[in-house]
């Protein structure tokens, strides 16, 4: 099977190792991965701030890049939501652009959803003998209704000690520009999340979104909380090549 990787701009610029892990995991599962270097962003930052025209310009570029892809895999619940839920609505109902956007949306899957629902993967052969907990990202859980897939994959990791935290699906407070427009509220929400992470007793917090993890990690480092953040792809890539 062939998939096109949409790596997301945040992973491309800040967390390339998450992108590399995604490729490693997909290839281990027997998938042929292609990466189109014309790709940039899904348009979400502008869309969430109300700059819909600016967002649409970027979306048109995104659609042009991924128009011919059979499967588009995204290691981010938030970007997958933008593509699947919001992008079609940027074009008038009944228009050909709308139809094309809907088709691209249907062919797009978040990484854990692709691995479990399409490939039926139970384990990637990863081994990680550590205590981990999982943070449900808001978009993944409430827009795409994906709860069990990431957990199944975590349970498939050998040696992992999974500890569900309290309020695992409550927001971490990131919220895109909200994190810098209302930094005090954003951090106060995040502090509570960090508290639940600590109480779980885990050494690692896993999530499908680097945006949440970047925020949580920033708070934990500032407060010297001895817990590491890790993207699900990185956890699943804990096997020898």
């Amino acid at each position: 099977m062939k998939v096109s990787l949409f790596v997301t701009c945040l992973i491309d610029q800040f967390f390339p190792e998450v992108g590399l892990s995604t490729v490693k995991v997909l290839e281990k599962c027997g998938v042929e991965v292609s990466f189109d270097p014309r790709q940039t962003c899904c348009g979400q930052p502008a869309f969430n701030s109300g700059y819909v025209d600016e967002s649409r310009e970027v979306v048109e570029h995104f659609l042009a890049v991924f128009d011919d892809s059979e499967h588009i895999v995204v290691p981010s619940g938030s970007c997958a939501t933008m593509i699947k839920t919001f992008i079609p609505g940027l074009f008038p109902e009944g228009s050909s652009k709308r139809q094309r956007a809907e088709e691209v949306g249907q062919r797009t899957l978040e990484l854990s959803d692709f691995l479990v629902s399409v490939l039926g993967i139970q384990t990637t052969g990863a081994r990680f003998p550590q205590a981990v907990t999982y943070h449900d990202s808001c978009h993944l859980v409430r827009e795409l209704n994906i709860r069990s897939q990431p957990r199944q994959l975590i349970h498939g990791v050998e040696g992992v000690d999974f500890r569900e935290m309290e309020n695992c699906d409550r927001c971490c407070g990131f919220g895109g520009f909200f994190s810098v427009k209302s930094p005090d509220v954003s951090a106060a929400i995040g502090d509570e999340k960090v508290q639940w992470i600590r109480e779980s007793g885990a050494d690692y917090v896993i999530s499908t979104d680097v945006s949440c993890l970047m925020h949580i990690d920033g708070l934990m480092r500032r407060n010297q909380v001895p817990v590491q953040t890790m993207h699900l792809a990185e956890l699943l890539a804990q096997f020898d090549d």
């Binding site: 992973i11 491309d12 610029q13 800040f14 967390f15 390339p16 190792e17 992108g19 590399l20 990466f35 270097p37 014309r38 790709q39 940039t40 962003c41 348009g43 930052p45 502008a46 869309f47 969430n48 701030s49 109300g50 700059y51 819909v52 600016e54 967002s55 310009e57 970027v58 570029h61 808001c138 978009h139 409430r142 827009e143 409550r170 927001c171 407070g173 990131f174 919220g175 895109g176 520009f177 909200f178 994190s179 810098v180 427009k181 209302s182 930094p183 005090d184 509220v185 954003s186 951090a187 106060a188 929400i189 995040g190 509570e192 970047m214 925020h215 990690d217 920033g218 708070l219 500032r222």
Partner: protein, 471 residues
């Protein structure tokens, strides 16, 4: 006009207010658990909630029809319906009626609409005393404040603050005991009930087919407000009409379980016009004031219309991470939390409430608990879009933010520019990072750095690493 700077100050003050933080944490946490447990008992919750949503959306699409039906039924029962386009008109009706009858005092049960139209202060200006009879509302009134939650108006106050208030204003013996507080309120309010010729209430549901006004409460003060005084005035937002009595069963179920986690509230009053000759209690006169006050404007948009489905259960406030941190008063508006964020700018204007649509992380927890399934996060996005569009048409508001967004779009539409931009950002980042972390002084990094460490910008982007891997 809601002042942005004021909201920012409110937020700062709320986060630093330890009493408020304790109250929010304990009360809202408990409300969320009780709602969740109560909803879990109902196996077909999703179905009931979808039904409630559909009935509301249907009713809103034919609001004129159902309101006319309601008016007809109420009139036939001997009641009178008054249509008020603005809050001011609604207030004026009450003032005129009181003056005409030479009435100087009325008792009031809980009504958010009365808060929205500033009824108490307007009546005060007309020398008419208005006594709140819901305990929470009474506390807030004594303190000269406004409610900070749909259901628990005095949520922001501690028991000690309330006791002090009662000692100061009502001569209560200073024991601070809860029983002392409630029995004092009961004693004082009873006298008001017996001496006020008018009772004003809100309306939870107005049933069109029967002309029934439904009041849902736990304290019995609304029941007293409509049975002791000679005149009952019910204030109802035009969106509160539902078509049939059989719909009511569903609405009561989803409202009450979402609001307090109870199976049923202690009192549910179904009122059909004034007292009939064979009835023992009830008012001699009944007036229903139907208030628009910006609502029909919301109806015009087929998507945004669902905002008016709200049945004021407060579940979205309880679960909202933002509301949980800042409480209600920070919003500077009658309606607060997620529902307030979408309702306030639509009832007034986006220019009058510029912060509301942006005061959210868009986490969607509100939509998940909404008993009538209002798509609050998607409405917030739509309002953000409208807000930016409105600003765009005003040339004076050509902001730095818009310029940055334009630049961002330019870069993101061109893979070549994207690569160049990323390379230069990387260089600049390393450079300013090297001079003793200068980067943290650049807005918006300053705001990020205030509470969080800044992530490292990777030395090489994914695409660079991927290409070298291919080679």
């Amino acid at each position: 006009m809601i002042n942005t700077a004021k909201i920012n100050r409110n937020v700062e003050a709320a986060l630093a207010d330890r009493q408020l933080q304790r109250n929010l944490c304990s009360t809202l946490g408990k409300s969320v658990r009780m709602r969740d447990d109560s909803v879990a008992e109902v196996p077909n919750w999703e179905e009931l909630s979808r039904y409630a949503r559909d009935v509301k959306l249907h009713t809103l699409s034919r609001l004129d029809h159902y309101l006319a039906m309601l008016e007809e039924k109420i009139t036939a029962q001997g009641g009178k319906v008054i249509w008020a386009e603005t809050g001011q008109e609604a207030v004026q009706f009450i003032v005129d009626l009181a003056r005409q009858r030479k009435i100087g005092k009325l008792v009031k049960s809980k009504s958010m609409l009365s808060e929205e139209i500033h009824l108490n202060s307007m009546l005060g200006r007309a020398q008419i005393e208005s006594i709140e009879t819901d305990l929470g509302e009474y506390i807030v009134q004594l303190a000269g404040e406004t409610p900070s939650h749909l259901l628990a108006p005095a949520l922001h106050k501690s028991q000690k603050e309330i006791a002090d208030l009662f000692v100061r204003n009502l001569g209560m013996t200073p024991s601070g005991d809860v029983h002392e507080i409630t029995s004092t309120a009961r004693r004082v309010l009873r006298e008001h009930f017996l001496s006020a010729p008018i009772g004003v209430t809100g309306v939870n549901f107005g049933v069109a087919e029967t002309g029934t006004i439904v009041l849902v409460e736990n304290e019995g003060n609304a029941r007293l407000s409509v049975s002791v005084p000679q005149i009952h005035i019910a204030l109802m937002g035009i969106e509160k009409v539902i078509p049939r009595t059989r719909d009511l069963a569903v609405f009561l179920k989803v409202l009450i379980r979402s609001a307090t986690g109870q199976k049923m509230t202690s009192y549910i009053s179904c009122l059909n016009g004034p007292r009939r000759p064979e009835e023992l209690t009830g008012p001699d006169e009944f007036y229903l004031v139907l208030v628009d006050n910006g609502r029909s404007k919301i109806l015009a948009d087929r998507f945004l219309r669902q905002t008016l489905s709200c049945i004021r259960c407060g579940a979205c406030q309880n679960i909202c991470p933002v509301y949980q941190r800042i409480g209600g008063h920070a919003y500077e508006s009658t309606y607060q939390g997620p529902i307030g964020a979408i309702l306030t700018p639509q009832l007034t204007s986006l220019a009058a409430a510029p912060e509301h649509a942006f005061a959210s992380s868009l986490c969607g927890a509100c939509q998940e608990v909404c008993p009538v399934q209002i798509e609050i996060p998607h409405i917030l996005l739509k309002l953000r879009e409208q807000a930016q569009r409105e600003k765009k048409t005003k040339a004076s508001q050509l902001s730095l933010e818009r310029l940055v967004m334009g630049g961002w779009a330019l870069v993101m539409c061109s893979p070549r520019l994207y690569v160049v931009f990323s390379r230069w950002t990387r260089r600049l980042w390393r450079w300013v990072g090297d001079i003793r972390g200068l980067g943290r002084f650049l807005t918006p990094l300053t705001h990020w750095y205030k509470h969080r460490e800044i992530p490292e910008l990777a030395a090489r982007s994914f695409r660079e690493l991927y290409r070298s891997r291919e080679e």
